[in-house]
């Protein structure tokens, strides 16, 4: 007679462990057959485009989505090929990626971190997306980048300008083509010095969140290095709409420059309010009062109307650039949609091509091999001159555009004029620069 070793507790314990294993989200596991998360097995590969389709940045998100659609069309051999023809790397031939037809799914970030993570998770888990891209906010980019790192897919960031994205919050699976707050400041400062001199007193209004803080820190450091004095830095709530009570104290603060570390609706309203209060007509310390907007977006600048005229700022890319890559992209986009692309559209289009090219060169969709192909990659022909995807922090280094609100625009798109293309060398910094310290790339996660 044999004695059974089965006990009630043993059965329950085994059942619980087995149940937990089955219930574990599939994005944090890998099937025995896959070496990495969402390894494409059929004739197609799915990319996930996570953009704000609702909320205050919905128009920017719509432009990103147009760019993604165009990139997918070009990767699959449709249209005129756009920047594939001017890209220095020649691995893309219009047959998809590694011979697989490119398909895509979309998510709505709503410009909210939790919603963006949920939509990215859904695209990875349910739709099998092997790469996530897009977004129009640094808060969202940092959140989604973290999720992609955990899930084992590549994140090709969209419009995110905070130093933190490739600074203290950088991740091995995340890559940023867009420039950052430090680069804006480094590019702007010499132009501001040339235009306004080195004896200036600056008053900062700063959006009270991660991007605002890093933008303010960067521009303050760069202008103080010129000899400018910082009179005050006032943090403004992100939800603020009427900035009159923040602008009024500027009038008699002794400052002769107002720096608006604001983006989107904040920028439109604070700039409009500042102009309404006659700041640009004032003389302070024997000089004309000036306003600076470190990060410009053409889509947002439209909201401020004529108030942007003559105001300096920086931008990642502009449709009026005359290099072959930019011309090809503007032609493709303009022909398809009837208007020129925004900088958000440009960075999203370029990120998609860069990802596809990296897969081609790596010969695999494995995120670790794709990441290795992107790290230290030097390329040209995508609109910003010779560019490096630095291995240390996954930040692209390229020329930065200093722009000014155009005095006599010829169309509703003709709002900014490029006044200087700041060379890449001038905006580079060491990987351990204090403004970017505190983070660690960690190691690549293939999700296996």
């Amino acid at each position: 007679m044999s004695k059974s070793t089965l006990t009630r507790r043993g059965v329950l314990r085994t059942g619980a462990v087995a149940g937990a294993g089955v219930a574990l989200p599939t994005i944090f596991t890998s099937s025995a057959a896959s070496a990495f998360t969402n390894e494409p097995t059929g004739g197609t590969v799915t990319l996930g485009f996570n953009v704000p389709q609702t909320g205050p940045y919905a128009d920017e998100g719509a432009d990103e989505l147009r760019a993604f659609e165009l990139a997918v069309e070009h990767l699959n051999g449709g249209g005129d090929g756009g920047m594939i023809n001017t890209f220095s790397s020649k691995t893309l031939d219009g047959t998809g990626i590694l011979g697989k037809k490119v398909e895509y799914v979309t998510g709505d970030t709503q410009t909210k971190s939790d919603a963006a993570r949920a939509s990215a998770k859904s695209m990875i888990e349910k739709d099998g997306a092997v790469m996530i891209s897009g977004g129009s906010s640094s808060g969202v980019a940092v959140a989604v980048q973290g999720l992609c790192q955990e899930a084992g897919v590549i994140f090709m960031a969209g419009l995110t300008h905070s130093n933190d994205t490739t600074g203290k919050d950088k991740k091995a699976n995340g890559f940023r083509h867009f420039f950052n707050a430090y680069m804006s400041a480094a590019a702007l400062a010499p132009v501001l010095s040339k235009m306004y001199g080195n004896d200036r007193k600056a008053y900062h209004l700063t959006a009270d969140y991660t991007w605002g803080w890093t933008q303010q820190e960067s521009i303050q450091a760069a202008t103080e290095a010129l000899g400018w004095e910082t009179v005050n830095n006032v943090l403004t709530p992100l939800a603020q709409t009427d900035f009159s009570s923040y602008i009024a104290p500027v009038l008699n603060s002794g400052a002769d420059v107002l720096v608006l570390n604001h983006y989107g609706g904040n920028m439109v309203n604070s700039l409009t309010n500042a102009v309404q209060f006659g700041l640009r007509d004032k003389q302070v310390n024997g000089k004309n009062f000036e306003i600076v907007v470190p990060l410009y977006s053409r889509l947002m600048a439209r909201g401020a109307g004529e108030n942007v005229k003559g105001i300096f700022g920086s931008t990642n890319w502009h449709w009026s650039l005359q290099d072959e890559g930019s011309k090809a992209f503007v032609k493709s986009f303009g022909t398809k949609y009837g208007f020129p692309p925004s900088q958000a559209a440009h960075t999203c289009y370029v990120q998609t091509l860069l990802y596809a090219d990296a897969v081609q060169r790596a010969g695999s969709f494995n995120p670790c091999e794709v990441g290795a192909a992107l790290e230290g990659f030097e390329f040209d022909g995508l609109g910003n001159g010779p560019t490096l995807y630095r291995a240390d922090d996954h930040q692209c280094f390229k020329d930065v555009l200093v722009v000014r609100g155009k005095e006599n625009p010829e169309s509703e798109f003709d709002l900014l004029e490029v006044v200087e293309v700041t060379p890449r060398a001038q905006v580079e910094y060491a990987p351990d620069h204090p403004m970017f310290s505190g983070g660690n790339l960690g190691s690549c996660n293939p999700g296996a």
Partner: protein, 343 residues
């Protein structure tokens, strides 16, 4: 001293918007007993009346200018407004320039119609339902209205400038004996304040000195008795809803040059306006106006650097802090009447 005067001006200006929205909210609550969370959306639609009229006045036909190129290198198609063809270039430009003041006339019938349709089509079905149901349905309506606006106008703010003659700032300091350029205030914001005072005065005069207003006031005090006297109070209350919508719409029209209209602007004002109504006293029209200006001024003072240095973040909570203090010390608000929302 100059900083204090500037913040008082700012506060009165902010208070103008709060008071106008709160006035409409109180009118609706006082007459119909409905807590209307869609009132902010009416303010937003008012601002978009200004945008819409501007777009109507700038309706254009295209003329090809061979000497200029578009972004694709093709000959530039230049938009020529029809008003330029009809009235000449100078007169056409002037009409477009004055589109915001003209939108006042445009918005009044539009807003009254929207208000009446809203009341007859939806809100009247919720008169006898709990306030929670009214809040849910009107909040849902507000979201629907703002999504409709976003669908047609996009998510980005749309610049809607004031007429050229109102650009720039008025030098208040010189009047008060200060040096030039010490206390300056934008002309259009002064116009907004004067306009708000005019509208508030007109609403009060209408309620105080007309038979219609007298009946409405009587209905607000005792709806049942007025009904027993054979007066169709419901019809008058519907008209009051339309008028309240028009007041919110006019506030929005005139606000358009201050901050470029966007689909979300109603929500930005809604919560603040409710706090204004509660602080002023539910159902009290003078209370709503008084609280609007008081809270506007306090909010402006709280944004002063000197205050924020001592109490960081006070600018973000001041209105709610005052509301808590008022409700603890005067539960009916500054000028609330006994019996309103106390059953």
């Amino acid at each position: 001293m100059d900083a204090i005067i500037l913040q008082i001006l700012n506060g009165l200006d902010k208070g103008s918007a709060y008071a106008l929205i709160a006035l409409g909210l109180t009118l609706i609550f006082g007459t119909l007993g409905v807590v209307n969370f869609a009132h902010g959306a009416l303010f937003m639609i008012g601002a978009f009346c200004a945008v819409t009229l501007n777009r109507i006045l700038t309706l254009s036909h295209q003329v090809v200018d061979e000497s200029r190129k578009d972004f694709l290198g093709n000959p530039l198609k230049v938009d020529v407004p029809y008003v330029n063809d009809w009235f000449g270039e100078a007169a056409g430009a002037t009409i477009i320039d004055w589109s915001v003041p003209l939108a006042i006339l445009f918005s009044i019938p539009v807003m009254i119609a929207i208000g009446v349709i809203m009341e007859r089509g939806l809100i009247k079905h919720f008169y006898r339902r709990p306030h929670a149901d009214q809040i849910l349905v009107t909040f849902g309506l507000a979201i629907v209205l703002q999504e409709i606006i976003k669908y047609f106008y996009g998510a980005n703010p749309i610049p809607t400038p004031a007429p050229d003659v109102f650009r720039g700032s008025f030098d208040f300091g010189v009047l008060l004996g200060f040096d030039p350029n010490v206390i300056i205030y934008p002309y259009w914001r002064l116009v907004y304040f004067a306009f708000a005072a005019l509208i508030v005065g007109a609403v009060f005069a209408f309620l105080q000195f007309t038979t219609f207003g007298m009946v409405v006031r009587a209905g607000m005090a005792d709806r049942e008795t007025v009904g027993l006297l054979g007066i169709n109070i419901d019809r008058r209350f519907t008209i009051m809803f339309g008028l309240a919508a028009a007041v919110a719409g006019l506030a929005g029209v005139m606000y358009a040059p201050i901050n470029s209209p966007n689909y979300h602007m109603g929500m930005d004002f809604l919560v603040l306006s409710f706090v204004v109504v509660v602080v002023g006293g539910m159902g009290s029209l003078p209370g709503a106006v008084l609280a609007g200006f008081v809270l506007g001024v306090l909010e402006s003072f709280a944004s002063m650097n000197e205050i924020k240095t001592i109490l960081p973040g006070i600018d973000q909570i001041i209105i709610y802090l005052v509301a808590i203090i008022i409700l603890l010390t005067r539960p009916r608000g500054l000028m609330g009447r006994k019996g309103v929302m106390e059953d």
